[in-house]
Amino acid sequence: MDFSAVPLTDEQRQFAREVSAFLDEVVTEEVHEHERRTGDGFHEGVHLALGSRGWLFPSWPVAEGGAGLDRVSQRILELELTRRGVPGITISTTSLVWSAVELFGDPGLAAELKPGVAAGRVRFCLGYSDPEGGSDIAAVHLRAVQDGDDWVLNGAKLWTTGAHNCQYTFLITRTDPEAPKHKGLTMFLVPLDSSGVEIQAIRTYGDERTNAVYYSDVHVCDRYRLGGVNEGWAVLRGPLDEEHNRSPSDGLDDVARLGRRYLRQFESALDAAARWAKRTTRSDGTLVAEEPAFLERLGRLVIEAEAALVTPGLMGRNKASLAYIAGIAELMDLVGPEALLTRGADGAIEDGVIEFAHRWAQGTATYGGTTEVFKNMIAQHLLGLPRLALAGDKAYIREGT
């Protein structure tokens, strides 16, 4: 057990200064403005700049386009990127998909893509959910039919965040409608500039942009198939398991993992509310910071955030999201009408950070699978509770069904 501050070597100290100086230059106000305007979770200039330093895949050897960083330096970099609010959605989807490309892709294709991936010119997004499928990723209707050396794709995907900034999508398709649900699936890395691909923006009230992607007679060469035909489920599980389970083993990572990102927003709102309380008086002249009732309610939210921060793995993902959603709603009540003011409005609290956090929270219960899907996993895998046999578990997914 150890929660001590990590002692840095001279080299690591030097590296931290280097990161800081570099990001000072690259992560400008324009980057933040761009993110607020687009909600892309991506900025090409920053992405390429990070790639130029090998910091998109910082653990890779320098010769392979990485930076050969030790674990402590990787964490220094991660924390600094987070502190500065660098948009990172496409960074993380690219990294997730790469592990599948490396494991299951044609070696020639992987070798061809690797330098571009490391440099930031080649980026990947996730083509998982069919419009009717949601978190049931195997409920795939999007069809892939072999045609000589090509496959022909027809169908649609929702929630392909970053598709308009990526070169390829990691696409799950149905190749055998006669096979059981999980057995007729095949994965492809589909070039998004293919003819017949249409990307349409979807906006969230968390200020994010995601996409619907439509595939109409899209031809993709067999070379872009990842893993065996009808073996797509195993190929997809690799990155999915990694996304869900990446477990810290060296004590350097946050245990809440996926949840940590959600908690950052909640913490920003809590901190802003605390500063607000210190400078705000009620009509009777009482300083909010001195009201026992305010402190008691705020204290309860701080406890929830502390608890979420130390809740491990899948459970941490759920706790972070649910504590944040309940907590930010309560924080809005605590602060009152000023909490509603949006960025730039007269009287908005710290550029509307609480107001934004309240909206953004709502997506966290769905990202990467809903909290209910995660509760199923906790119940079955951690507690050993029996799985409920539902009609849709193994149902065949056929045209028109």
């Binding site: 057990m1 150890d2 929660f3 001590s4 501050a5 990590v6 840095l8 964490r75 220094i76 924390l79 600094e80 987070t82 810290p248 004590g251 350097l252 990572d253 946050d254 245990v255 950052r264 913490e267 901190d271 605390a274 500063r275 309380a277 210190k278 026992p292 305010f294 402190l295 008691e296 309610r297 705020l298 204290g299 309860r300 701080v302 406890i303 929830e304 502390e306 608890a307 979420a308 130390v310 809740t311 491990p312 941490g316 759920n318 706790k319 209910e372 995660f374 509760k375 199923n376 906790i378 119940a379 079955q380 951690l382 507690l383 050993g384 509770l385 029996p386 799985r387 409920l388 046999a389």
Partner: protein, 346 residues
Amino acid sequence: MDRFELRRQDFSLDADQRAVREGFGDFFAKEVPSSLVRAAEPLGFDADLWSRLVAMGATTMGLPGSAGGDDATLVDLALVAEEAGRVVAPVPLVAHVVASRLLARAAGPAELLEAAATGERVVTLALQPSRGAARQLVPEAAVARDVVAFSPADGLVLHTVEEPAAHVPNQGSTPLAWFDPSAGEATPLASGAEAEGLFAGAAAEWKLLTAAALVGITDSCLQLAVEFAKSRRTLGVPIGSLQGIAHPLADIATGLHGARNLVWKAAWFADHEPGVRPELPLAAFDYAARTATEAAWFCAHAQGGLGFTVEADISLFFLRAKGWSVLAGDPGPGRQQIAAALLGAV
């Protein structure tokens, strides 16, 4: 407060810590069947179990070497308290360990410290500051002749009576008693800011170790409910396969793991960097208490009518989840302190 500071987040137990956990875990599992817990009601004290626990070193491990102890860390003590909570052992472990450590820090009477270390004399702590002659309920005071109490006027004082105060029957079947600050012999231990600091530290330790015990209670509730939900069937399926049962149990598992980690983190900071996160024991206690409350009611409820019967072991845990946590009084002031710590840091 730097929320981006690079600190380790290592919750793993080392070999010694695992040995403490397993040693006491085995002891409590073997020595404390639910029949023993029931037999100790309503007082909630089994003298024979207490002497065997003392023989395990539970009353000396947390004392400083200078007082004949083993300098165990709060992390070690939290591991022991969790195992005690897991079987709701009818022993005054937490209050006794905390009051003994307090007496050692405050240079209390040597012969009392010795008798406390050997478990002969049970010592305890009044958790609220005394105001004048007003009496207060003190945990374990029905089996302790010695109560350490703090008042702003008199500082930290050891109160010793000829016989422990009369037991007051209570929901958790603990040795609760009214403490009368004017009764018995008073020995001043510390005054002024020193007294206040010693008292606040001990109260936080009591909350931390009680939080650990509540984690043990939560874990046992969860296990009882999970076993029941795997085998009990309704409408042709095990009830544990239904989301109405499975999801609340998943939430309780989530609360359990978070509460345990929060206790460990708070204990580690108190051991290694005292003063850096003084609000963490309060946070751990608040969260562990709420988690145990939720676990106890739902895990009893998951067993339907059976879970509401006195024969069901879950009843022992349900009654103590509140019976132990409410001893600290209203959670409000703790939450206010936690918020004040944030306001001070931003």
